[in-house]
């Protein structure tokens, strides 16, 4: 009372004035364009499409144009056109691919639902946040060429998550291989003369899979997966 509260307040501001010169707990500023904070691994901005190879991004898109993300996207910023023909993915399995894959980043709200619903681990969240452009329309509508980024990039921004995805994909591929092997073995057993050479062709997936299986990924560390034949 009688101004004691005011003096107490003045003491607090004085403490902060002095503290801002020596106390990092008070002066927590990062002067942005020169200094950048380390983004947390979970940070998300706009989505990108994962490709296996940096040298041939369009040939190795993981996306199989299943259009689930297009349907689930709440603001409906994804536009996909399926390809007419099929293309072998990294494992050689014939899959559709997106002939057109556009994301309107002026509409996208970075909610990550496309990533969550994607059964192929083909779309992931990017961490590039300096996306200002001088054009409101064309530059913010990203096509598949702009969206495609290699798996190595995914590893560099979300290492834990990417390792987990690669592990899962490798496991799935292994399971698929074993299934194929088993199928081949069964085939071989069914046939009178077993041919061991067919089992070596690991790329042959089972012809009837109940659910779409993701294409096999190369090992997590391999930056250059085998380029599939065009």
């Amino acid at each position: 009372m009688l101004g004691s509260g005011l003096i107490q307040g003045l003491a607090v501001t004085a403490k902060n004035l002095v503290g801002s010169f020596h106390d990092p707990a008070r002066y927590t500023n990062v002067e942005y364009p020169e200094v950048k904070t380390k983004l947390p691994e979970a940070y998300r901005n706009f989505p990108f499409l994962v490709t296996e190879s940096a040298s041939d991004p369009m040939g190795t898109l993981r996306c199989v144009a299943c259009q689930i993300c297009e349907k689930e996207c709440p603001p409906q910023c994804i536009y996909i056109e399926k390809s007419k023909d099929k293309k072998p993915d990294a494992t050689g399995k014939m899959q559709l691919f997106p002939a057109v894959f556009d994301i309107d980043t002026s509409v996208c709200m970075s909610c990550q639902i496309c990533v969550e619903v994607c059964p192929f681990d083909a779309i992931k969240m990017d961490q590039v946040f300096e996306v200002a452009t001088t054009s409101r329309f064309e530059a913010l509508l990203l096509n598949r060429n702009q969206l495609a980024k290699p798996n190595t990039y995914y590893h560099s921004i979300h290492p834990t998550e990417a390792a987990e995805v690669d592990g899962r994909l490798a496991a799935e591929r292994k399971a698929a291989e074993e299934k194929a092997k088993a199928a081949a073995a069964a085939k071989a057993a069914a046939a009178a003369a077993p041919k061991s050479a067919t089992a070596a062709a690991s790329a042959t997936p089972p012809s009837t899979t109940p659910t779409p299986k993701p294409p096999a990924a190369p090992s997590a560390e391999a930056p250059k997966p085998p380029t599939p034949a065009a």
Partner: protein, 390 residues
């Protein structure tokens, strides 16, 4: 000349208009505060009729930020509405997420693992800290501080937002809760970070209160300003700290005992006067209780799955029915009412927005006060226009 002649808005609501209209008392001045005004917390508009500086009539106008939220919710899948709830009250996305998740879980009969319940409580209480800290900062800004309390509040908010970002990937639009659990499991590091924040928060509050609570100017400005009677508050459906500041003991964490709240020991602070100072103090005291809840929750969080393994992400179609899920959000009772017809989209999607309902009694609190008071009364209501206008 009567008020209704002066006002283009007609005579309704002008019951508190002064009786004398003679030459000595002069004309009334109608001022449109907002939608472009520094302290209407967004695009809110108050059409104020002034007698000198005294408010004789106040008409709140909202809807400038209407984004069709409820209709969007009916045209989007259940999951697709989750990121939209972030954008309701963009300071408290975690609690909005939780309220919506509770509504859908009720609708679908979806159980939630214990760890997820703990994580939800932790995040909700951190959100309460965030919201109340920001509110105190904004209120002081409305009171005319040159940004100092607001900057201190934002300094602490930044720490909370960093936590949210490292958990959910986004600082404000968390989109974190899912039906049947949470999207990501918080790591041990994250929990440690939350613990550090919790332990340091009391110290920050001490300093913050030293700056504000005993300040004579703040007391003179806020005590006895914008008094809300408990009867009117209950009648108008006011909830949250605003209701408790009038002395009504109503906290959904206690009355509904949802989630794992019954396991924690905390108290509910109550005001006695229902003025702006009580509203501010109830929030400050609530923050201290939140710290207690956080400490208990962080100490007792069990191991286990974060998502119910049976929970469906894609193709989520709850059977036909209706459900109302509500929690005690930082601003009051945030509730979602859903009607399902068995399709992937809700048939009806309705939000009970606490700031909107708390705002409806603005005129009753402002009549007889001055323009300067109207600004801080509005500040003490704690509105976020994203939620008011939806």
């Amino acid at each position: 000349m009567s008020i209704s002649d002066l006002s283009p808005l007609g005579a309704q609501g002008g019951s508190h208009v002064r009786a004398v209209h003679d030459e000595f008392h002069g004309d009334l001045l109608e001022v449109s505060m907002g939608p472009h005004h520094p302290s209407t917390h967004g695009v809110f508009r108050m059409i104020v009729t002034l007698d000198g500086e005294t408010i004789v009539k106040l008409k709140p106008v909202f809807g400038y930020l209407h984004r069709n939220h409820e209709k969007l919710g009916e045209n989007t899948s259940y999951l697709g509405s989750m990121p939209y709830t972030d954008r309701l009250d963009y300071l408290c996305s975690m609690t909005n997420n939780w309220a919506y998740a509770i509504a859908v879980e009720k609708l679908a009969g979806q159980p939630v693992p214990e760890r997820a319940e703990y994580v939800r409580v932790i995040l909700a209480e951190i959100t309460r800290l965030l919201n109340h800290t920001c509110l105190a900062g904004f209120l002081m800004q409305d009171l005319g501080c040159s940004g100092t309390p607001l900057m201190y509040a934002f300094r602490e908010r930044e720490k909370i937002l960093d936590l949210f970002e490292s958990l959910s990937g986004s600082r404000m639009m968390c989109n974190y809760q899912r039906f049947g659990g949470c999207r990501v499991d918080p790591s041990a590091d994250w929990l440690e970070g939350a613990k550090q924040l919790t332990d340091g928060y009391g110290q920050f509050l001490d300093e913050f209160e030293a700056l504000l609570t005993g300040n004579e100017i703040i007391m003179a400005r806020t005590q006895g300003t914008g008094v809300l009677s408990p009867e009117l508050a209950v009648a108008a459906g006011v909830t949250g700290p605003m209701l408790r500041a009038t002395g009504v003991n109503y906290d959904l964490r206690k009355t509904d005992a949802y989630g794992v709240y019954p396991r924690f020991d905390f108290r509910v602070p109550l005001g006695a006067h229902g003025d702006v100072y009580d509203r501010y103090m109830v929030r400050v005291l609530e923050m201290r209780e939140s710290i207690k809840i956080l400490q208990q929750a962080l100490a007792g969080i069990p191991a286990g799955p974060i998502m119910d393994p049976k929970a469906k992400l894609r193709g989520f179609r709850p059977k036909a029915g209706e459900a109302y899920g509500r929690i005690e959000g930082p601003k009051g009772e945030i509730g979602f009412y859903l009607v399902s017809d068995g399709s992937p989209n809700p048939y009806r999607y309705r939000v009970r927005a606490p700031s909107f309902i708390n705002l409806t009694i603005l005129e009753d609190m402002c009549l007889g006060q001055t323009v300067a008071d109207a600004v801080i009364i509005l500040g003490s209501v704690d509105i976020v226009l994203g939620e008011v206008d939806r």
